[in-house]
Structures are given as structure tokens and as C-alpha cells.
Symmetry: C2
Subunit: 542 residues, 2 copies
């Protein structure tokens, strides 16, 4: 999928993707998986199951050297999976036609800029009144450096920059827990205290002999050395604060040693504040820095894809309503802008629409495929609001240059911009929430969403969060036409999930929901690659 996922969304749900994967026993050993996956319809050998790094792009010479003629493929959807499919096929000489239901490419990598307009499934229209250069990544917002997304940025020449997924000076704000509710604390302070006290406790337990059954004398000395550094412990092994907590006024010159922050509280207070629940995010495999974003907005990538494919091959505002196998090929029914339903025939189709929505189409791919797609019938809700401010008070006053503030309020996450530092205006993502919180905001009018988000943000940032506001734009992904959800996670062990990998006749499926890394462009791209590979193998075998 294409909106990136907050793996540790502890404030809204106890269930994380990570936890889910652990629960189903995935991620701890690949060999077993490969052995249990079984054969594919098209190439029924174990070797045909792609390895995660197995990508041999089809090439034009595959046709010219074998006397075959290139085939025609209709791609449904101009999001990451669809555009990557079309791009890779076209590079090898396939004739491609992309049909996109929405008026723009990118799918859930939507970037909202001034003048952009969106109408939701209830008919509510918002038009962004953002200033030049201000944008909001309403969907996908970040790319980890190991992801294949980086390769496409590089291949296409998309300019990119660091996405600030973590910042020691961003805030943690738990109003429902802790000894001092209502007081935001900076990440650096929270870390110093949590790591300080947990190091002290483990140092103490080690000294008391509580771990003697587990650790040798050398182990204990290595452990204590680590804890003293990591926890900023005093020589006696206790934690009493220190510079890593940050300062109210930082040290400067002469003998101005700075003004320390109040605290630390007691170990009980620090544990009860539950700030530590936010820390795993930064060491998460999908979320660790460094991360990147395309300059100017995430959907910039897809403008580059469309340019590379050729704009004449990508048809927008052309929703598909039917996909049929015709024996030797496929017939796709769609409605072009201002026109009547039309049909296009091709050798193959690669369908990348949200799986759940495909069940509304006229298809003849049969009950097994229908049932498999039905596993994705409902997309999860997620919402964001972009708040444009006339000043960047989070940089000027709070000295937060990018990063994410975490809360236990229903707005969940607040994102500061990773670009435009020091400029006059800027845009803060005032909520990024999921589940029930996302539904609650979605049920409000855009104006009410803004008011609710601002009222909560003021608690952290002060009155400027209200008085400097110029305009806002909010998205509720489960209300976006032709999307209707932020993401849907596959049960990768289901027989339906395996069935979809084989496609149906001359129809193949792709999308982040067909991947091990759902909710990320990485998963969408790899699903496209595997679909392209399977399709091409079929053509070469024909």
C-alpha cells in the first residue's frame, strides 16, 4: 500500500503490524516460508517463487532475439504499482495503456498543493488554499533507505531530501498518564530519563547478583560499562539527570552554564508517564532514520513515471467497471471523462486497484478470485490534516526543525515539515491518526476537524498554534473515491493470497496489498515487479 504506516501507533491501537507479523510467526525465518509456499500456476517449480531480491526486468531483446512480437497490456490504476508495471513493461517494448479512475496519478501518495481540490464520497469538496511552495503529503510520507523506492527515485531522476522521521527536540505529550499530565516533554528529555532509570535498575540488579545465573563476571562488567554510558549514570550507578535531558537555556560562553530543565521525576513518575512507549518507533525496521522524501511532494515521483511512460498512454478520470478474460486476451470496460462507457482489448491486464473495490466490477475471473479479493474488502481508515501557518513558530520558538510529536490524544501524531526550514510560512500535519480516531475526525466537517485538531495542538505548542493558522486541508482516506481506505493488510498465509499471485487467466494483480510490506511504496513496487515477471515469463513461454 501506499500510505506509509505507523507501525507503533500505541496511542490508538494495541495492535501493530510488527506485532501482527510476530503473532503469525512471520519474519523470523525465511526458509520455512519458501518451503511452504507451493507452486505457482504459471511456472510450477519452486524456483519460480521470486526471492525478495530476484528481479530480472524484461528486455526488448527478449522479443527481437526470439522473433516474438511485443504484447499489449492494459494497466488499471496509476498509483505506484500500476505506474511501475507500465513503466517496466514499456521499457521492454510492451504497448501499455493505463486507466486511472482519479484525476491524477499517485494513488495514495497524494500531495495536496494550493488550488488542489478533492471531493469525498459524501460529496464534500475541499479546495486547498495553500501558498506557493507549501504542500501536504496527504498519504505516503517517507521512504526508508533500504526500500526499492529509492531505486526508482534514482532511475527517474526525482530529486529527494531527508525526511525527518525522528527529532530529539520534538515533543511527547501524554495527557492521560504520568505524574504531570498536560506538560509536553521533549524526546531527548524523555529518553535521558527512561534510559537513565532503566540503566540504573539493571545496574543495580547486576550488582545485587540477581543476574548471576545468566551472566559471567565479564558479561557483568561489559554490561555495567554499557549502562553507565547509555544511562548517563553516576559513578555509584545511579541516575540523576544531566546534560542529555536538554536545557531550558542552553550553555553558551564565559561561565553561563545554562539553565537545566526541572526534573527528573522519580523512577515511578517516569515509568508512569509512559513516554517510553514511543521509543521503539525509531529503531523499527521500516521507520529508522535515515529516511527520504521527494522534493516538492511525494507524488512528484509519479509525475516522473507518467512523463517516462508518455502522458498519452495514461488516461485519467477513467474509472474501470469491468475486466474480462476473453480466451486469448482481456477486455476492460471503463468510462472516459465526459464520455460513455468504452472497451479496450489487450493481451493482458494488470489490475492494481484497491482489492476490495474490484468486487464491484463486472468480471469473469470466478469465485475463487472473488473470494480472495474479498479478504481485502474493507480498507482501514486513516486521516491527516495539513495546517498552513503564517510563521514557523515550531522552528522559531520551539527550535524543532522537522520530526514528529507523539501524543495520546485522538490526533495521535503531529508532523513538522522536513523542508522549507527557516522560510516564512510552513505546514504542520496536525493529526495523523487511524482506526476509531480517524473515523471520528472523518465524521466532522473540514472546519470542525480543523477546530478540534487546533484545540489539542494548542496544549502542546501554545496559542500561536491557533493564532498563526491560515488555512487547512484534511483527508479521510476511507472517504476518498476509488480508494476508500488507507491500507489493507494481507493474511500472507491464506490460500487466497497465494491464489492472487497466479492471476486469473490473462489478468494479473498488483498493489502494496499483494506484498509483505503493505502500506509502503516498496511493497507496491515489488508486487508490480513480480506481476511483470510472471506476465513476461508467460509471454516468453508462449
Amino acid at each position: 500500500m501506499v500510505t506509509d504506516e505507523l507501525v507503533t501507533d500505541a496511542s490508538t491501537s494495541g495492535v501493530s503490524r510488527r506485532g501482527l507479523l510476530q503473532a503469525v510467526g512471520v519474519g523470523s525465518g525465511a526458509g520455512v516460508m519458501f518451503a511452504t509456499m507451493g507452486a505457482l500456476g504459471l511456472a510450477p517449480t519452486a524456483a519460480a517463487q521470486p526471492r525478495a531480491d530476484a528481479w530480472t526486468p524484461p528486455r526488448g531483446s527478449d522479443f527481437t532475439l526470439t522473433g516474438r512480437s511485443a504484447k499489449k497490456v492494459v494497466v488499471v490504476g496509476a498509483g505506484p504499482a500500476g505506474l511501475a508495471t507500465a513503466y517496466e513493461l514499456q521499457k521492454a517494448g510492451y504497448r501499455v495503456t493505463v486507466l486511472e479512475a482519479r484525476h491524477r496519478p499517485g494513488g495514495r501518495t497524494l500531495t495536496i498543493r494550493g488550488g488542489d481540490s478533492e471531493t469525498d464520497v459524501d460529496g464534500v469538496t475541499q479546495t486547498a488554499r495553500f501558498a506557493d511552495g507549501i504542500y501536504m503529503n496527504a498519504g505516503a510520507g517517507r521512504i526508508a533507505q533500504w526500500m526499492v523506492t529509492m531505486d526508482y527515485l534514482r532511475e527517474l531522476g526525482v530529486p529527494y531530501e531527508v525526511f525527518t522521521n525522528a527529532n530529539a527536540d520534538a515533543y511527547l505529550y501524554n495527557e492521560r498518564s504520568g505524574a504531570t499530565p498536560g506538560r509536553p516533554v521533549r524526546y531527548r528529555t524523555a529518553k535521558a530519563d527512561v534510559f537513565g532509570y532503566t540503566s540504573e535498575l539493571l545496574h543495580h540488579a547486576t550488582d545485587q547478583g540477581a543476574l548471576d545465573a545468566r551472566l559471567t563476571a565479564d558479561d557483568k562488567e561489559n554490561l555495567r560499562e554499557f549502562l553507565r554510558g547509555w544511562g548517563s549514570l553516576k559513578a555509584d550507578g545511579t541516575y540523576a539527570g544531566g546534560a542529555n535531558r536538554g536545557y531550558e537555556v542552553y550553555p553558551s560562553a564565559w561561565n553561563a552554564h545554562g539553565t537545566p530543565l526541572p526534573g527528573p521525576g522519580s523512577v515511578s513518575e517516569v515509568l508512569a508517564s509512559r513516554v517510553g512507549q514511543y521509543f521503539p518507533f525509531e529503531i523499527n525496521w521500516e521507520q529508522s532514520m535515515l529516511m527520504f522524501q521527494p522534493k516538492g511532494g511525494m507524488d512528484t515521483t509519479y509525475e516522473y513515471f507518467v512523463r517516462a511512460i508518455g502522458r498519452q498512454h495514461v488516461h485519467f478520470s477513467s474509472p474501470v467497471t469491468g475486466v474480462e478474460n476473453t480466451g486469448g486476451g482481456v477486455r476492460v470496460t471503463y468510462t472516459p471523462p465526459h464520455g460513455r462507457a468504452r472497451q479496450v482489448e489487450a493481451d493482458f491486464a494488470v489490475v492494481t486497484a484497491p482489492a476490495g473495490l474490484m468486487r464491484r466490477w463486472d468480471t469473469n475471473w470466478g469465485p475463487e478470485t472473488d473470494a480472495a479479493l474479498g479478504e481485502f474488502a474493507v480498507g482501514s481508515p486513516a486521516g491527516k490534516i495539513g495546517l498552513q501557518y503564517r510563521s514557523r513558530f515550531w522552528e522559531d520558538d520551539h527550535r524543532i526543525y522537522g520530526g514528529i510529536t507523539e501524543t495520546d490524544m485522538d490526533l495521535a501524531h503531529v508532523w513538522y515539515p522536513s523542508s522549507g526550514y527557516g522560510e516564512r510560512k510552513g505546514l504542520v500535519v496536525g493529526y495523523y491518526n487511524t482506526g476509531a480516531n480517524a473515523r471520528a475526525y472523518a465524521d466532522l466537517t473540514p472546519r470542525e476537524r480543523e477546530r478540534r485538531a487546533v484545540a489539542q495542538g494548542v496544549k502542546i505548542h501554545g496559542e500561536k498554534y491557533r493564532t498563526e493558522l491560515e488555512s487547512s486541508f484534511s483527508i479521510a482516506w476511507h472517504k476518498v473515491p476509488y480508494v476508500e481506505g488507507a491500507w489493507a493488510y494481507p493474511d500472507t498465509t491464506s490460500s487466497g493470497f497465494k491464489h492472487l499471485q497466479q492471476g486469473s487467466g490473462n489478468v494479473y494483480f498488483a498493489g502494496d496489498w499483494m506484498s509483505e510490506v503493505s502500506a509502503w511504496q516498496h511493497g507496491a513496487f515489488w508486487s508490480a515487479r513480480y506481476a511483470v515477471q510472471a506476465l513476461h515469463a508467460r509471454v516468453m513461454a508462449g
Copy 2:
């Protein structure tokens, strides 16, 4: 000071600045310090001691409204302290002349670009053969977002970008410790294992009742909840690896779950590998992300300063050899390029040269000032080498986009570039070391330094680290003329340090070495501000 400091340089020295400050009892309470600092000569009231945030720039109206005429000030040194001094004074109407011994501004914020030439105190000349757009920050390399340096970047309009001070995919490489010497491990893997096992141990100790005297039942439950998330613990409280360690091949689509890395080793092996010693760096008060750098090189800032001050007021290659109080003013002796010694008279001088070097000048500021400057007689050595490569294999093959690899070898740190991602060529800082290691490299020829650095870097990065190399440039700060050291830390409790804050007659002192944040531009800037404030107060009182 102006070369940024590696606070936790655990591989080269057991003594960190942080530790030093803790040892002398500094940083844990500001009130006491203010109370003990005593009066200043020029403004003998407690209020005259600046607070860390106390900065009231002198203004032109201070003169025009009081009928005073602006004064003339000679500033010695065109590094951060000198240029900020001249800039702030000139904004208020002072007439300033800056005398700089070297041929360029910036001091220890030196950026080396193609064509740049440096001759060391032994007469060894290197000329950089870097490609267009390639540069090496030979000195200062990073700016924390809380530092006043950010304010000057913004005021002057210097473009800046994220400096990647930490990267989950950079390596840790300890060849002298651990069960598997010679095998680099990525930060993310090391963190998962260290945090996993330490969380397991503390979870276990908690379960065993070892902390019952310290923790309530609620505390214990809060602690266990934190540990399970932070350590990726299984339901039974044990650590067995997981996705956060990273992958040999990352998960992609269909059922390609990825290839896990080998490991984790046992708790003894992980502790013995001593990788955890590098972790405190990332939560250090001076080093935590986000950090920033000027685009195009750190000394860009000082080009902007010179432009703002007016190039005609800044005299390069003009080493000072004498500073004298003359009763009502000062007389400064210097040697202009291709000329004979010359003298300039002014109302005041602000001297920002390295303290130790001033003792070679002809001065009449007396034995107390001489002795105080003598506290800084020897600057610490530090060295860097910039290795220009014809390909960015660390990005292409290792997927490391910026950040720092840590080692226990004598090269200490390897820096990957924070700019130019995905471009063809790039520059890696192949060593950044201090102390004995810096001296060892400094004693080699530039060619030998390169060979030694490359031979070690190959152990981590493979043969491309040798075969892709195009050229190098190395610096040994204790051999740079008119600098002769990377930094010098003040004993901020000494009477000499306090004496220097009063200046001597009409001479004031500034420099990072006059600060609480030595080795950082932040400290240099604040020392300049305090000198300017003291000087201006004197003028206004006159």
C-alpha cells in the same frame, strides 16, 4: 571552538567532554555557578554576568540618541568568533577592521574544494584535486538545531540542509572485541541485539523480584510493558532477534518474506562485542539529530559574514604579531601580504586567535593575562582525510545514505556525505580521529595517510574502497599554521578563565575556548556576543 567535537570518542580515549563536565560538577545546576562567578571588572554588578540567553545587540541608536560617536575596533581573526564580533559591532555603527593570518575566512570551519591548497607547519603542501561540487569539511561539520549557529545561518540567509549524524544502516566495526572480530555490523542490528538482551535481563530481574525494594507493582508493569516494546521481546520476556535487526534481503511482495541476517549471538557475545559503547552518542545533548550543515560546505557561512561586513574591512594573510594597550586605545601590529609590518590604532581590539598562540605576540597585557592564556597553550590534535570516489558504492551497494560508521581502529570514524545523494561521485571522510591516533596519521606523508586509511576502510567496505578511489586530501589540525590544534577546553572554574572575561584594558577576548561549549561554533558565537556586550557597555558608560 570551531571544529565540532566527538563527545564520545570511546575508541580513542576514555575521557569525554561530557565526562569531564560531570567530573568537575558542571552542568547540573546553573544557580550556583552564577552565584560564584563574581563581579566583572567593567561592570561590577551581579547582573552584568550574562545569562546564556542574554543577548541585547548594540544598536546604532545607542550612539545617535546619546550623542556619542561610534568607536573603531580591530578584530583579530576571521573565524566564527571574529566575524560575528565584527558583524555585530558594525551593525551598530562601529568601524571595524578584521585581521586574519590565514588566506581565507572561517578558521577551523575550513572547507576544502578542488584547487584548494594548504601548507602545513612542516612545509608540506597539498592541493585538492576534487571534482566540481565535491568538498570536505575539514573542521567543523555539524550544527545542532538548538545552537545559535542556526540563528546566524538564518539571519545571513545561508542555505542549509540536514547533516546525517546518525544512520541505522551505518556500520559498527570493532576488530579488537567481540566474538566475531572483523565483521562489521549495522547500527540497527547492534541496537536490536543490545536493547533486546538488556531488556530481557531487566525484565527477568523484575520478574524475579530483584527490584521489589525499588519498584511498586504498577512500576513493574509499566517497566515490563516498555521493555517488551523496546527490546522486541517475545511474550515470555526473552529476546530472539526479529525484523528490527534488518535483513540480508528485505521482505518484498507475494510471499517473499526476506532473508534474515545471521544471529543474534548470545548475550555474552553481544555484550563482549562492545558495540553498545557507540550508542550514547546519538542521545548526547550536542549530537542528537536533527543536525544541519550549510549547503556546499561549512565555511560558506563565513563567506556570507565577510560579504555582510564588507570585504574591504577584512584583511587576509595578515598575521598579527603585537597587541598593545596605549592608554586610550589599542595598537595592533600585523604584516600584510607582500609588505612590511604595519600598525593600526583603534579604540578597542577583540582578539579571537587561538589562545596559546597569542603568547608569542608582543603584548603589554601583563602576566595575569599571559598566564590565563597559557592555560590554553597546547591545542588538541585532530585529523581528517577526505577520500573522493568515482562512485558512491556506500549508497549503491551498502545502501548507506549519509551517517557515520564507528570503529575501534585508529581511523576512529568514517563519515558518509550528507549531500549529493545518488550523484556519480562522492567524498567519504576516511578518518576523523583525535589524540594519539591523530598524531600518528599526522606524522605520515599525505600519500601514506591515504594508504593507511584505505587499508582499514577496506575491511568494512570491501575492495571498492580502494579501487574506486580517485584522490584524497588530509588535514592535521595541530600542523595548520596559525591554528596549531583542533580545540582547547577551558577549565571554566579557573581564575584565569574568569580573568579573560574581563579583557585587558581595551582588549577583549573571544573564541570557542572562552565558552561552555568549546569546539563548537555555538560557543564561539556566544563568546563573541559577550565580548561585544561588554565592550559596548564600556562605551556606553564612557
